[in-house]
């Protein structure tokens, strides 16, 4: 083709033609709306816009890359963890120490007057962010609100009535004896808010709490939550002037955001990236254990798994420390039982099962499972020892962990087929009984007390007793312990339960869940709170450059 004009000029003309075509033609409505959207944005988010590009380079402002998208800020309706622990706007009546024993929070002390009556003494120097004093009246308001709106908390509190005795004394009557009541009041959804969080019509407006940080703004479009220092915090001096919380749900993006300096603090970058990021100058990664475990439920209704020897053999076949190191990159640790060894009520004599293939072989042979046809999979009466393993991908550690365990179990002659599915499909399969093994990550200290977990997991017909485990001795011990309010005696019974299920392995507890805190070196004063549900921002945090 002949061509006298320079290609550049042609290109330019074509570009122009296209521009005209594009503006006059098919995409014009979109563009107009785009303009509107952009200009609309500037009105609503002038504040974030200004501080965004430099991240936290301003003196004492922290930009936090939160792990979930921030969709709403209603503390009683399921966002309590965000508002209480991550934004530090609200506080709970009861606090918890590192070993999960309880300590005073907004309440200074509590006492069980009789079987069903509790009395709480409140701190008398606490003011809400709206300037009003916190008294028993507001506490009653909050708790009643939570009970009516949040069925989960209501079912744990079992409250019959709440009575204001005087300004700083509150009486709570429960429907039945409930030793975990103070523990439940450590749950972030029960954090105390002022009635001014709602408008006259009773609609939620914003969280007005008592915490070290005050709510400033929440932009529903950009999903950015901004909180500022509470100058009058009862707990003393507050470290940061301002904190900007942005939800970044993709772990890779969180990693790049902190590398780029867009955020100063974030959590749970991809586990495989932790060491690389830690090596970067100015950024440090700290790995902690959180109150959550990776556990494998075994369907005891399926014949081979009914046999405790098969379950023990499986536990011996799994190399937990290998998984913690190579799948979790040490964000997490090999686990012995359902509780962290640092928890005050944990049975500390239990040690994680370590891989022992000879023992596994012995147990399986004793149960009658041997590889007679030489295909590497054990069999008995012509039936191979094969299981399916269900898991889901919402927690990144699960699918690779399932694969690793499948490989380890295969070494012991147990055939495993892993299936990564969506939550709804898993529920469906579990309901139908069409499953053998189910790998999941469970929270173990929603409430800082062993009763909740042990009842739900190991009691006959417990709500989370997926394996269908039933042991009269365990049931009796838990029922007894529930009525004991003396903590030492109570924990002793629970320790026995732990020892029994450690031996019988109706569920294989694989590893403790971990949390990787990633922060810039100039963020000082951070202390990890192991009782927090993901992580907690503490008042001492500040920026020092």
């Amino acid at each position: 083709m002949e061509n006298k004009n320079s290609p550049l000029i042609i290109l330019l003309i074509i570009l122009l033609t296209c521009a005209i075509l594009a503006t006059s033609g098919c995409s014009s409505p979109e563009e107009n709306e785009t303009d509107n959207a952009v200009s609309g944005m500037e009105v609503t988010s002038g504040l974030e816009g200004a501080s965004q590009p430099e991240g936290g380079s301003d003196d004492n402002i922290l930009v936090l890359g939160e792990m979930w998208n921030i969709e709403s800020i209603d503390p009683v309706n399921g966002d309590g963890t965000l508002i209480c622990e991550k934004a530090a706007i609200t506080e709970t009546l009861v606090g918890a120490n590192e070993d999960f024993s309880l300590k005073p929070g907004l309440a200074t002390s509590w006492e069980q007057l009789d079987e069903n009556t509790w009395e709480f003494k409140l701190r008398n120097n606490v003011t809400f962010h709206d300037g009003s004093k916190m008294t028993a009246k507001e506490v009653k308001f909050t708790l009643e609100k939570v009970i009516s709106e949040n069925s989960k908390v209501a079912s744990m509190l079992k409250v019959d009535s709440i009575e204001v005795v005087d300004n700083y004394t509150l009486k709570i009557k429960t429907k039945e004896i409930n030793p975990i009541l103070p523990g439940v009041l450590h749950y972030p959804d029960t954090a105390i808010i002022s009635p001014s969080s709602y408008n006259e019509k009773g609609e939620f407006v914003k969280p007005v709490g008592t915490g070290p940080y005050k709510f400033e703004s929440f932009d529903e479009q950009t999903r950015v939550l901004t909180v500022v220092k509470n100058e009058n915090w009862w707990g003393g001096e507050v470290g940061l002037d301002k904190m900007i919380l942005k939800g970044i749900s993709d772990p890779n993006t969180r990693a790049m955001a902190i590398e780029n300096g867009d955020v100063d603090f974030t959590v749970d970058v991809p586990y495989s990236e932790t060491d690389r990021i830690d090596a970067i100058d100015g950024i440090s990664v700290e790995k902690y254990k959180t109150p959550r475990v990776y556990k494998l439920d075994l369907n005891l209704k399926h014949e081979p798994l009914e046999d405790a020897r098969v379950r023990q053999a499986m536990s011996y076949a799994i190399n937990r420390s290998d998984i913690a190191e190579n799948v979790l990159y040490n964000v997490g640790e090999a686990a012995a039982g359902p509780f962290l060894p640092t928890m005050v009520w944990a049975n500390k004599s239990l040690k994680p099962y370590s891989q022992n293939l000879e023992k596994a072989d012995e147990l399986l042979a004793a149960a009658g499972w041997v590889d007679t046809d030489g295909d590497g999979i054990r069999d008995k009466d012509g039936k191979p020892l094969k299981f399916n393993l269900l898991t889901y991908s919402a927690r990144p550690g699960l699918p690779p962990m399932a694969e690793a365990m499948a490989a380890q179990l295969r070494e012991a002659g147990i055939g495993i087929e892993t299936e990564v599915m969506e939550m709804g499909s898993i529920d469906d399969r579990r309901e139908k009984g069409d499953w053998d093994l189910y790998l999941a990550a469970y929270n173990i200290a929603m409430v800082p007390d062993p009763e909740y977990i042990l009842t739900n997991w190991y009691m006959t017909n417990g709500t989370d007793n997926t394996p269908g485990y039933s042991n009269p001795k365990v049931d009796a011990l838990i029922t007894e312990a529930r009525k004991i309010t003396d903590l030492k005696e109570r924990y002793k019974k629970f320790n026995e339960v732990e020892a029994i299920v450690y031996d019988e392995q109706p569920m294989i507890i694989v590893a403790y869940y971990g949390c990787a805190i990633v922060k810039k070196d100039y963020v000082k004063g951070y202390v990890f709170d192991p009782t927090a549900h993901d992580y907690r921002i503490n008042a001492d945090m500040h920026i020092e450059k």
Partner: protein
Amino acid sequence: MILTLFAVCALTFFLMNVIPGGTAELVLKHTLVGLEDSVSKEQVNQISSRYNLDDPLYIQFFRWIKEAIVTGDIGTSYVFKKPVLYLLALRLPATIQLAGVSMVIAILAGVSMGIYSALKENRISDHILRIVTLFGVSMPGFWVALLLILIFSLKLKLAPVAGYGSLENLFLPAAALSLHSVAAVMRVTRISMLETLGQEYIRFAKAKGLPLWKIVSRHALKNAMLPVITVIGFQMGSLLGGAVVIEKIFAWPGIGSLLVDSISARDLPVVQGCVLAIVTMFLFVHFLVDMLYTHLDPRIRYG
């Protein structure tokens, strides 16, 4: 068009009810109870009765349709407890902004590269462009997105990694999202242009001694545009609804991620609302494409 919308709503509604997993249970798991925890019977009953989930499906569906037509209210989210229209109003601007800008990039870059490539048929620059676009259609979006962040944010410090609100935030997601469309548009433009350039009247125009740019812009372009516009229409549709991955990586508050999250939480009203919005926009774009056809080629008439 109304019929299409009705059919889409009905289909979405029944499909959502066919997929495994109880609605009330999953709504609970995504709001109040932890993802893994079991849900108690009372809680399920409470939610079911609050949203009338135990009624037969067709009654639920017609109640929803009636509400929607009579009051214009397409429901309240089970999870966010806010009107669906409000949620859509929050998310749609971001989606339209991203899709619109990506489309403009796709048209500008795609069409100009396509024409250039056609004019240089089988020369080096043509081959290079074709290989680049082959790359464009075959690369997965999330990988390109991460690569763009790596280069433009971490290395060159030109744009923030993620977020929404300012213009700087728009570049990377728009670039990542448009790559596929650029390539698709470019390839169609090139082929269509080559075909047009082979026509008799182009040879005649050349014989007349018209300069090349005039031949291309006056005679060839308009005729070569028909298939290109069809492709643009389809691309626009997929850009509006299919940016889920890009939205997640760039923390972009668009409608795609809302739809996917709502599906896994079985938030039926929101799913319905999102599908309705996406389908409406899609139909609108196709309507525009049809209009453009008649404009470009007066022989096409719609009865």
